[in-house]
């Protein structure tokens, strides 16, 4: 264990040190390459040398939606599905560069850097409505959108009419016999609907956001570009009992089987009865109905059967995926889970800037204080510690940049706090090592031997202590919520870097320096002179003979 470094071992510290420096250079080179080629996975046009900042440091909106426990089991699959739907909705509101992610097993986080968009929360978070409507008319997507003024005017006319008075029979008749079969007072409303349909450009942006159950709806199927005038709702999505993607026996293509319950079952019986007659009469167009989700037509199938028991199949050009998607949407509405707003934070750029400055300022002050203390106490060795801190800082900075590019890691205020707290933990590794080293010298070893045997002992302590620290960071990361995770991540990252730096930088550096005259013979300023260590009667490059009474009790009892 404490064997004197043999000749074979001599070149090792230098080699380790070179490996470390080459490794560090490689990391920076990789960053430079990423910067030139812009191939980072999370490349957003920002300089590769600047860490990606969290919303609290650059300003922006952060919305936290949480799945309500009442909406059934929150499974990772459902959450993932909800995430992608919410992502689509956020994009549909015209917000660019939003990042939507899941967190903590039951949350969806929407982050919009640089913009104040707290008001989109109601739009994106609600569980959308699934509705079955009759198809009164259809047209192709318009080339020119209707003028905004005209649109408002026509909408007002539609709103004026009380559609809720219509019976199911009347609604059906409007489809099978044409809208002119409706009572006269509805004529104006129907005309307005047709005007709206004429000027409807079918894309995601123009989909209606006010899908009201008891009113007709002008919307379209973005997959086909078909624009529809739809009746008030005949069956609510809550009447869907189940839906599944299946390949029926003796068939090859996918269909979506649908099972209704309650009122919806009876209505469906009546609706399919009427519509199937149209189909048999050869009019496909007037046998269709529409399944509308969140204002968008999911599917507008023709009716080719009279379904009395509420179960039916929707066929079409489905693939396994599209069939499953439709089945899921039928089952869950748009979102598989009901979400409540957990928090909305909108951070202005000034406040964010102040926080960034404060974090950096605190870090600088903390670092300088630690440096001064280490220099005062350890003198020459303090320089080694400072060098190690700089190496750790360099490596941490590179890792923050690299993780930002690779994993989208963003630096938040708690993250900066974590890095600052880690200064202490990193410095502690050096302190443990240096104190052990000095103890070994006090025990009567020469400095060069003390470095090796002191390291042997310090190593175990450093590893055990860092293991605890990493364990704490991991647990914090797993159980923390929100931005607090940034803190845990930073803490864990710097602890790992600490281990790397101590093993590959500090230790070999001290080994090398112990061979120099300045340190090896215990110069007054090296922090290793005999007086500084409190030993007398010998120099640190000599082996003690146990003449110092102090050296004795410590070796007794067997230290291994």
């Amino acid at each position: 264990m404490a064997a004197p470094p043999s000749r074979r071992n001599l070149p090792r510290p230098r080699r380790t040190l070179i490996i470390f420096l080459v490794g560090m250079a490689a990391v920076y080179a990789l960053l430079a390459v990423l910067g030139v080629t812009g191939k980072g996975e999370h490349d957003d046009g920002q300089s590769v040398w600047k860490p990606r900042l969290g919303l609290d440091l650059q300003g922006g909106t952060r919305i936290t939606l949480e799945a309500k426990a009442t909406s059934g089991d929150v499974t990772p699959d459902k959450l993932k599905q909800a995430r992608s739907i919410i992502d689509q909705r956020v994009n549909a509101t015209g917000v660019t560069e939003a990042e939507v992610s899941t967190q903590g097993g039951n949350q969806v986080i929407i982050e919009i850097p640089g913009q104040k968009k707290g008001n989109i929360v109601d739009q994106v978070g609600r569980t959308a409505q699934l509705r079955f409507r009759l198809l009164w008319a259809s047209a192709q997507s318009a080339q020119q959108p209707i003028a905004a003024e005209e649109k408002t005017k026509q909408e007002a006319i539609v709103d004026k009419v009380d559609w809720s008075k219509l019976s199911l029979d009347q609604l059906l008749a409007a489809e099978t016999q044409g809208t002119q079969s409706l009572p006269k007072e509805y004529a104006e409303g129907v005309a307005a609907l047709q005007e709206l349909a004429k000027g409807f450009v079918c894309d995601k942006k123009s989909l209606p956001t006010d899908d009201v159950s008891k009113k007709p709806l002008v919307t379209c199927d973005t997959k086909t570009g078909e624009v529809f005038v739809l009746s008030p709702t005949v069956i609510e999505g809550t009447d869907v009992k189940s839906a599944a993607a299946v390949v029926p026996q003796n068939q090859v293509s996918w269909v979506v089987s649908l099972q209704l319950k309650g009122e919806g079952k009876k209505t469906f019986d009546k609706v399919t009865d009427a519509l199937f007659k149209q189909e048999q009469a050869g009019s496909d167009q007037t046998s269709r109905f529409a399944i509308v989700l969140d204002g968008e037509v999911l599917s507008a199938p023709t009716t080719n059967g009279h379904f009395t028991d509420g179960s039916s199949q929707i066929s079409g050009n489905f693939t396994a995926t599209t069939a499953r998607d439709l089945a899921n949407q039928l089952k869950y509405g748009a979102l598989p889970l009901t979400f409540g707003v957990n928090g909305v934070s909108v951070e202005g750029p000034t406040l964010a800037g102040t926080q960034l400055d404060a974090g950096l300022y605190a870090g600088a002050v903390g670092l300088v204080l630690v440096v001064i203390y280490l220099l005062l106490y350890y003198r020459g060795l303090g320089l080694v510690a400072i060098g190690s801190l700089i190496a750790a800082a360099g490596l941490t900075y590179a890792m923050v940049l690299l993780l930002g590019q690779g994993l989208g890691f963003t630096l938040t205020l708690p993250g900066i706090a974590g890095l600052i707290v880690a200064i202490g933990i990193t410095a502690d590794s050096f302190i443990v090592f240096f104190e052990r080293l000095r103890d070994e010298v006090r025990d009567g070893k020469s400095l060069r031997l003390a470095v090796e045997s002191g390291w042997e002992r310090a190593r175990g302590t450093i590893l055990a202590a860092d293991a605890v620290s990493i364990m704490a960071a991991l647990i914090l990361y797993i159980f923390a919520i929100g931005v607090v995770r940034g803190f845990a991540f930073a803490l864990g990252l710097s602890t790992l870097i600490d281990v790397v730096v101590v093993f590959l930088f500090t230790k070999p550096l001290v080994s090398l320096l112990a061979r120099t005259k300045f340190f090896g013979q215990g110069h007054k300023l090296s922090g290793l002179d005999a007086k500084h260590l409190g030993i007398s009667g010998r120099k640190v490059d000599q082996i003690g003979r146990g003449t110092a009474p102090a050296a004795r009790p410590a070796t007794e009892g067997g230290t291994v």
Binding site: A2, G118, V121, D122, G340, N342, G343, V344, S345, P349, T350, L351, T354, Q355, A358, A362, G363, V365, G366, P414, A417, I420, V421, G424, I425, D428, I431, V432, E435, D439, R442, A464, V468, M471, A472, I475, L476, I478, F479, A480, I481, V483, V484, F487, Q521, G534, I535, D541, I543, P549, A550, A551, P553, A554, T555, E556, G557, G558, T559, V560
Partner: protein
């Protein structure tokens, strides 16, 4: 600093020794008193829960100068916004140019209304933070789960690393000690308890343990093969370990506390309120308590537990008897190590190991090394 260093040397050799292990009753009493004070604080003062635990909306308005005039303006602006739910807002200054306004739970539309009103009243920029009522509860629940998992892992880790469950127990008691004291300081000071505070508390877990592990490592080293020694008891060796790591403990505490202090001061002075300050205060108190507990609680307690082991008990008796026979040292000598005979009795492995090296090296001509 030279004197400090030779102080370290004296601590190391045992020439200067603080009787941490022997005077455990004193340290225990001090801690008990502090913890009782903390408990009183929990009951009498309770915690000042931040808005995150109550739910509501917090607005941060940037103003020219955070004066009482600005506070009045902002309060008026909230009332003028026409949102009755936002009545009686809590408004205070934070830092030199921000005003913080807290209201009860609002809808997003209402929050936007207030934001507009604040801007009209002269705020150059308004940040808002709308917090659902379940948020804080969730943070607390998760933190509690984390705490339990951590404690279980800690017990297993220490037991595996030191092969001594008694050390696990002592470490966990020290952890509880640090957490209670930190919580107590929060209760007494009336500082707001936010999720950042909870983070700080969880970080203390790691730090406090880190410190304890370092001290325990030395204890283990010093007490290895204690049964073969006839001059030192387990308690004495453990105490020596604490003394030997004392310089490290102090240095580590200072280097750890300095950056945290910087965070605390910058967080409080520049930002006024916010996660930096909450985190830093919890860390500062917890780290200080952690250093104290690893020295004065964890080691004495683990020693006390180990001493109940019959083998160790018998060994201690043997050592004491021998000491009495030799007519030298009495048992309650506070510094038995310093007066103890200088000559080692058994041949230690370390001595054996070093023997050949010493002979060879000392014969070498000077100046070659």
């Amino acid at each position: 600093m030279g004197r400090v260093s030779s102080f370290g040397q004296h601590l190391y050799s045992g020439q200067v020794s603080f009787d941490f292990v022997g005077r455990r009753k004193l340290w225990y009493s001090i801690s008990v008193v502090i913890i009782v004070l903390c408990a009183v604080a929990f009951v009498v003062r309770g915690f000042n829960m931040g808005i995150e635990f109550k739910g509501g909306v917090e607005f941060t308005a940037q103003v020219q100068k955070a004066s009482s005039q600005a506070v009045d303006d902002m309060t008026q602006a909230v009332e003028d916004a026409g949102v009755p739910e936002a009545g009686d807002p809590i408004v205070n200054t934070s830092g030199s140019d921000t005003v913080r306004i807290q209201t009860r739970a609002l809808t997003q539309d209402q929050a936007t209304q207030i934001e507009q009103s604040l801007t009209k009243a002269g705020a150059s920029e308004v940040s808002q933070n709308l917090i659902g009522p379940s948020w804080g509860k969730q943070v607390a629940t998760k933190a509690l789960t984390g705490l339990i998992v951590f404690v279980v892992l800690v017990i297993l880790f220490i037991w595996a690393y030191f092969r001594e469950w008694k050390m696990s127990v002592a470490a966990v008691v020290a952890l509880a000690h640090d957490l209670l004291i930190t919580a107590g300081v929060y209760a007494w000071s009336g500082f707001e308890v936010t999720p950042a505070t909870v983070t700080g508390l969880l970080t203390i877990l790691g730090y406090s343990l880190y410190d304890t592990v370092v001290v325990f490592d030395k204890v283990r080293e010093n007490t290895k093969g204690i049964q073969r020694s006839s001059t030192r008891t387990y308690a004495e060796r453990a105490n020596l370990a604490v003394n030997q790591t004392l310089v490290r403990s102090i240095n580590t505490s200072i280097t750890a506390l300095l950056p945290v202090a910087a965070l605390l001061i910058v967080g409080a002075a520049v930002l006024g309120t916010g996660p930096l300050k909450d985190l830093a205060l919890a860390l500062f108190v917890g780290m200080a308590a952690g250093t104290y507990s690893s020295i004065c609680i964890a080691t004495p307690l683990s020693t006390q537990l180990v001493e109940r082991d019959p083998a160790i008990k018998a060994h201690t008796k043997r050592v004491m008897k021998k000491r009495e026979e030799s007519g030298g040292v009495v048992t309650d000598d506070p510094e038995p190590l310093a007066v103890a005979p200088a000559r080692p009795v058994g041949v230690s492995k370390a001595a054996k190991r070093n023997q050949p090296t010493r002979t060879t090296r000392s014969r070498r001509p000077k100046g070659k090394a």
